[in-house]
Point group: C2
DNA sequence: TTAGGATAAGTTGGATCCAATCCAGGATCA
DNA sequence: TGATCCTGGATTGGATCCAACTTATCCTAA
């Protein structure tokens, strides 16, 4: 999760495409042609090929031989399963990092949550919500676990945005309450409650999503 | 999980290296030089590079710029976490596929378990045990979930073998009992019991592993 | 009119060559 | 004597060219 520009071309290209996909500029089902990307970024196709493999590892693209790369278009059933996985896996990171949560981190979470509650734009909400949750896992130093969680967020990001674009940002008080209860449980250092509120939050989001099949591929 | 030889060189090379790593012929921490592999398989370095990216996505290798690829050497703490993830994630696949479990599959599981109980060699046990568990997930058609589970098994395979090499195959009756209870719960189509026995089996294995730090990297 | 197949354009996969980087060993200087 | 800098070998990263595959289009025939 470094923000500085990587010195290696394949990493730089991967970062570019990652941003394109996560922002929604490249949507599910859309094809990514190696030559297009190479020409746009002033490189040969070779580092683009490597970049696409890197993104495949992150769940952002899928690859089939001689047919190129595209952003996976997930069904509602697949996204539902990804949320079930999140519900079980993310509490592990939260509880693992809980002993190292300090006042500075809690302040940042409170600040982020305020900005989330004040926000009016869907794209902004998606970004801030992602930042909020990933920040709650930032004290977990189990790289294998946190990278898996980032993959899960990556794969489902588009459908979160699509859902919010449909429902709008009104009636979000439930999510805000859950976020604040999560922060409070973290402040108390209570692993059971932290896991409870987090799992409940993810589960409720999943249920809401399943009420909007129009956010998914046909 | 196709067994036929892939037509694409990068896939074929990936399959070769995958077998080398899973069998233990390439161990944790060991470096994989592109030229070595290319020369051995009669290809150029390019498809080897792609193969290493594919394996990286599967958790079998790790990559750093200009420093090449190697098989990750995990600490006991990391493997313990992977087992905690397995404990929470694998029951999802089991329960998801449970309605489609039929008599033929149960027969195959019973047969496999008999061969596991009759086995005397560690390498054979590791392979059969893997086959047994992955077979219990074979009716789960959620590709995203099952591929994640395969990755988890891949990453921990070496340490299972190392553990068994230390402790031997005696006193394995607990695992056998757990396997048989799992089969029986699947026969009844009971998701609660199936999840219970599976999670317990993984958890107990994790506990046993944590008693043998000598199986891990320093 | 439509189904089928041949063909051609477009795209990806692979090989070879060159450039950039890393690492170990030794020489130089304080 | 010790640390630092430099240099050469080894290895990976990238560019260009060619081959193989996929796919869409157009023509032919029923």
């Amino acid at each position: 999760m470094t923000t500085s520009a990587p010195e290696v071309a394949s990493q730089r290209i991967a970062a570019y495409l990652r941003a394109e996909i996560l922002s929604g500029r490249i949507g599910p089902g859309e094809r990514i042609r190696q030559e297009d990307v190479a020409a746009r970024l002033g490189a040969s196709r070779l580092p683009v090929r490597e970049a696409l493999r890197i993104l495949e590892a992150e769940g952002l693209t899928e690859h089939s031989a001689n047919r190129g790369a595209r952003v996976p278009a997930l069904t509602m059933r697949q996204v539902d399963m990804l949320y079930q996985i999140r519900e079980r896996v993310e509490p592990l990171a939260l509880v693992d990092g809980l002993p190292r949560v300090d006042a500075t981190l809690l302040d940042r979470l409170v600040d982020l949550e305020k900005r989330i509650e004040a926000g009016t734009e869907v794209g902004e909400f998606v970004a801030l919500d992602r930042e909020f949750h990933l920040l709650t896992y930032s004290t977990c130093d189990q790289e294998l676990l946190t990278s898996m969680i980032v993959r899960l967020w990556n794969s489902t990001q588009h459908y979160r945005r699509a859902y919010l674009a449909i429902t709008g940002l009104s009636h979000r008080w439930v999510a805000h309450a859950e976020h604040n209860l999560l922060i409070e449980a973290m402040r108390r250092g209570d692993p059971a409650d932290a896991e409870r509120y987090l799992a409940g939050h993810i589960r409720r989001t999943r249920t809401e999503l399943s009420r909007h099949p129009e956010a998914f591929a046909a």
